[in-house]
Symmetry: C2
Subunit: 367 residues, 2 copies
Amino acid sequence: MVSGSAPTCEITLSRSCRSVSGPCYVPAMPIPDQRYPTMADVAERAGVSVSTVSRTLRGMSTVSPEARLRVEQAARDLEFVVSRQASSLVTGRTGNVAVLAPTLSSWFVGCVLQGLSTQLSGAGLDLLIYPVAELAERKAFFERLPARRNADALMVLSFDLTEEETARLDGLGMPVVYVSRKVEGRPSVYVDDVAGGRTATRHLLTLGHRRIAYLCGRRSDGFTYSSRQRRTGCLQALAEAGTEPALVREVPHGRRAALEAIGDLTTLSDPPTAVFAETDELALDLLTALREARIQVPDQLSVSGFDDHPVAEWAGLTTVAQDPVSLGTVAGGLVTELIADPDADPAPHRELPLRFIPRASTVSPGR
Amino acid sequence: MVSGSAPTCEITLSRSCRSVSGPCYVPAMPIPDQRYPTMADVAERAGVSVSTVSRTLRGMSTVSPEARLRVEQAARDLEFVVSRQASSLVTGRTGNVAVLAPTLSSWFVGCVLQGLSTQLSGAGLDLLIYPVAELAERKAFFERLPARRNADALMVLSFDLTEEETARLDGLGMPVVYVSRKVEGRPSVYVDDVAGGRTATRHLLTLGHRRIAYLCGRRSDGFTYSSRQRRTGCLQALAEAGTEPALVREVPHGRRAALEAIGDLTTLSDPPTAVFAETDELALDLLTALREARIQVPDQLSVSGFDDHPVAEWAGLTTVAQDPVSLGTVAGGLVTELIADPDADPAPHRELPLRFIPRASTVSPGR
DNA sequence: CAACTTCCTGAGAACGCTTGCACGCTAGGC
DNA sequence: GCCTAGCGTGCAAGCGTTCTCAGGAAGTTG
C-alpha cells in the first residue's frame, strides 16, 4: 500500500473534446443501400420453394438430403441470415431476453451479465438491456413495460420491487426470473444474504467487538433487497449475542458525499469499533475516508465488506464472497429452460453458496 | 491500508447450490397465454381504422384531434404496445443498437455501456449486447454477423480489429461506430492514448527514473488497440529522453498467473525502478504482487496506471484519467445521429480529453 | 355554383417469414 | 393390380405493422 498523498496536479493532454473530422485515407463506408437477401432469393438460387428453405434452415427432418445440400449452399453463397423480425411475427418468439438492471457500471452487475450472456449466446438468445438507474425511469419502465413484445423473458437484477411492481411483471405474459433476489412463487437465483450478514457479524462478535455499525448506500427507493437482507442478518447476530443494536448508517449517493458521511462515523462520542459494509465497494470508500481521517485499520477500527470484489484481496478486506458470474450463468440456464419448455417447473429456486473470507481488516478491538 | 494478512479460513454458509422449489405462498405466475392486443383491437375500440391508429401512435399530424383522443384513450385502456417486430418488418428499422464488447465485467466497459444506454434510451433505442470474449466467438461473430438484420447500427468497443474485420463491418449495411478506438474514415470516439502514455512516462522520467517497464495484458489476439497506443506513447517519451528502451512485459490472462508474472519483474538482476501499467486494474494486480514480495511502493518501485479506476484514488495510484461514461454518451449521440440522418457526416470523429493525476505511488528513485 | 384545394380517413398491398394443408410420388400389403 | 401409408414438396394464408393511394367532406376561390 502506498502511504502519504501527493497534491493532485492536473494536466490536460489534449484540447478538450475537440471534434475532428479529419482527412480520410481510407475509402469511406459504402452507402448501406443494398437489400439483404431474403429466403425467396435463396429459394430461387437453390431451385426450391421458400417453405423448403425455411424447413432446411430450421433443421427440420422432412427435407431430402439433396434439397438440404442445395439450400445450404445457396444460403452460404448469399450470406443469408434470417430476419428475426419476420420469423418472430409468425412464431411469437423474439429470440431475445430482456434484462432490467439498476446500473451497468457496477462490478457485480457486470459479472452477472457476463455469466448470463455466455449462457444465452449458447442458446441462440440475444441480450436486450434496460438499465433503470433513476426512479423516474423505473416508473416509466413499469408503466410502459417496453419489454413486453420485444423479449421472450425478463430477468430482474437485484431490484427490491414493490408488490405492485412484481404483480405487474406477473401479468407480462412471459417468464420473469429474479436474480440476486428471492421471490416466493417466482423463478429466482440468489444467495442467502441473511446468513452472509450473520456470519460476518458473528465474526466481529467473536473477535470481541460490541459496538458494531452497519453501513449501506442510501437510495431514493429505500434499501436494496440484498442490503436489507444483510442488515437483517447483522441485527440477528447482534440480538443472539445480546449486545446493543447496531448503528445503521446510510450513506448518500455520490462518492464525495459518501466519504464525508462515512467520516462522520468516527467523530461520534462513542464510535463503533467495527463496521460491516453492505458491499466491498462501500467498504473501500470507507477505507479511503478513514485514511484521510488518519484512523488506522484494523488497529482502531475493523472493517468487513461483502462480495469479494477483485480489489478486496489486495486491500486485505475481510468479506463474504459470492460469485456473480455463476449467478448469471445459473439464471441464464433457468431462463432458457423456461422459454423452451412451458410446462417446466414455473418457479424454480436456485441458491448459490457464500464463502466467508477473513482477512487483515478485522482484528480484536483495542489490540 | 491494511498490512499483514490473516489466513483465509473459508466457511460455507449454505449447502452448495441446492435447488429449492419450495411451497408457494403466493399465487403462481399466470400462464402466459393471453394474446397481446393489436392495433386492430385498438382501432375497433376507438371506432377508427388501423391506419389511423398507426398514424396517431407515431405522432403524425394528419390526424384530427377527436380521433387522436379516442385512439389514445383506447390504447391506454388496452395497454397497447406496438410490436417492433411487425413495424420493423415494413420500415426496415429494428430500433436497437448492437454493441460488440470484449467483456462485460470490466469497469471500463460497464461505464461505457452505462453512458451509451442513457443516451440511447432517450432516443427510444434499445441496447443489444454481443459479448465476444474468446477468439472462437469473435471469429463466429464476423463470419455470421448475427447483428446484421437485428440492429440499426453497431458499436465496436475497444477492439483492435484486423483490416479484414473492419472491411467486413463496412459491408454490414449499417452505421458502425468505433468506441475507444480511432479508425480513419469511420465514425469513432476515442482518447489520445499515445499522448496519455507519453505523459505518464515523461512524469516518471522527470522524477529521475531511467529503467522503466511497460506492463500490459497478454491476449490471444495480440495487443489491445489502447494498449498498443499507450505503449507507443511510452516508447516515444523514452526515445525523446534518449534513455534505454523500456522493458515491455506481457502478463498472461488469469489473476493468479498475472500475479506470478508480475512478481518475476522484481527478480531481474537489474530491475526497473518504475512501472507504467496499461490499466489501473493491472497496476493494482502489480501492487498486490509487490506486497507479497515485500517490495515497498513507491520507495523501491514507482507505479503508474491508466484510467482512473475508482479505487485508484484510494490506492494512491498515479494515473491518466479518462471518463468512459462520456465516451459512451458521446458515442450514443453519434450513433443516433447516424441512424436518423443518412446524409450526416459519414465519419465523424470525437476526441475526449485525458487528465494526468500524479499520486503517491510515484516518487524519485532511490529516495 | 362549379372547380379546385385542403384535410382527414380507410382499403389494401406489401414486409419476410412460418405452417397447415393438399398434392404427387414411391413403397408396401393384401 | 388396387388401396393405403408415408415422405417430400409447394401453395397460400396468415403474423402485426406501415404506407401509398384514392376518395369523401369541408372549405376556398372565381
